[in-house]
Amino acid sequence: MTSSAVVVSVSATYLVACLAIGMWPSKRTSDSATGYVAGDRSLGTLVMYFITGATIFSAFAFLGMPGWAYSRGVAGLYILAYGALGFLPFYFLGPRAARLGRHYGFVTQAEMIAARYSMPAIAGVMAVISVMAFVPYLALQMKGAGYVLETVTRGGIEQWQGAAIVYGVVLAYVLKSGVLGVGWTNTFQGIFMMALAWFMGLYLPQLLYGGIGPMFERIANERPELLRAPGLTSTGAPWAWSEYSSTVIVSILGFSMWPHLFMKAYTARSERTIRRTVVLYPTFQIFLVPILIIGFAGVLFEPAPPRADQILPHMMMHTELPAIVVGLFCAGALAASMSSGDAMVHAAASIVVRDGIATAFGKELDPHKERAWIRRLVVVVMLGSYALAISYRGSLAGLLIYAYGPVTQFFPAVVATLYARRISGAAVFGGLCAGIVVNTWFVVSPESRPFAIHAGAYGLAANVVTLLVLSRLTRPCSDDAFLCVAGTPPG
């Protein structure tokens, strides 16, 4: 048993350090929306690398993923599977989007698509879909932060209070310094988390089982079903191959569509930076390996945690670890939650303002007004997600898999915008609407699915079919200048 007081003070010190680092760069960006949202298009490879990496290294990675390895076995490996190819589409889409961003001044993907088809309504529907994806994802991060604080204080700080404290800090630094603050904070956190993950992933199996090999030997003997691909469902039945495979594919297509990741095309200094970030991305996946191992270390651990998602902090509190190590680790988990949460809330707010208010409703906003609106929306999105976080009772991973359904619906629209000549705006709009409606239908009533396939895959099928059929029926938008900009490398 580890001392709560030391753990809490180490975590608190860490939060203060985050705040200091997050505030620092706010002096350097210009006071326009481009400065606040796109960081004046100046992020280099190192910062880009850690932003994308640490954004993925979320509360899901530190809590939801070990929670899955613990309760659903190799199902947790799905994050490695989709991470292998997940960022690859961005290698092609990112540089094209960046050229358009520079030429036309876009800072969000919906702005780009709406401009291509001269159809502001597309930006409106994309803003709605983005919020549908962001709110559960952000709620996941908040809930995760709440779980950490609840566990380390042994229930002294309850989950809802913990989430409020941590996200108060996030709110402060996002309001103060926008994306560059987010960037530097992530760089700092990324390095910190990697070191800790490796240490714990090697140390815990050694301490509890005498090594990684003996640990899996015991799991294979006592709980063999956990090591049968593709793992178990939340009820403990074997997961269907069709559902596993479709979840992996939906996640691969959806991953680079996350607006907070896609927007990085507009913040990158150069196309080289974007490509290099994509190439290096799988190296971040490797850092998930020790975290999965930690989750498996919990399988035969006594006492069992109150909830599967708490397995990691729970185990740390119940082993004879120095309090400072537990404190640093919990700080790492909080950092993971915060670094994903800040990027998301920031992206969600910018999207509602720029795509919803400015583009779809045609409201003229000068840069300072726009920035003020983004700040207001940051607060609104935070409160909405917080409400979901404290009322939702399912698993963290459940929230993530739900969030991928809506966000994957952007894929056909983005590909059409950047590559296709013979697609119309009405078709893109219709595809997005059909996709999100079908996805939502099957999320709400999963038993009505004809086959056990991820709801987002049904949405995607409806989306693509509608897109192609409507394009045949309507006049295509042939803006050749646009595609020409997208296809011409700078210099």
Binding site: V74, L77, L80, A81, Y82, G83, A84, L85, L88, Y91, G211, I212, G213, M215, F216, A220, P224, L227, R228, A229, P230, W241, S242, Y244, S245, V248, I249, I252, R275, R276, V278, V279, L280, P282, T283, Q285, I286, V289, L292, P489
Partner: protein
């Protein structure tokens, strides 16, 4: 290597990788506990392997295209 050959090689890799990390490659080849690799059950090592292979494949693709971009 010409740009076209690089594109084709990458496309082929993506197809193979997709089948290896989902059905059927994962079910037929990846789904076993033994042999263990560095203490990890085979099913775990299989997924790690495809992450590493993807890194190598995309890095090689990027290098060959970068050469074309610099010297078309």
């Amino acid at each position: 290597m010409s740009a076209l050959r690089s594109h084709c090689a990458l496309a082929a890799y993506v197809v193979v990788c997709l089948t290896a990390i989902s059905w059927p490659g994962y079910a037929w080849i990846g789904d076993r506990v033994r042999p263990t690799i560095l203490g990890l059950p085979f099913v775990f090592a299989w997924n790690v392997l495809w992450v590493l292979l993807s890194f190598v494949a995309v890095a090689l693709y990027d290098r060959s295209l970068e050469r074309v971009r610099r010297d078309p």
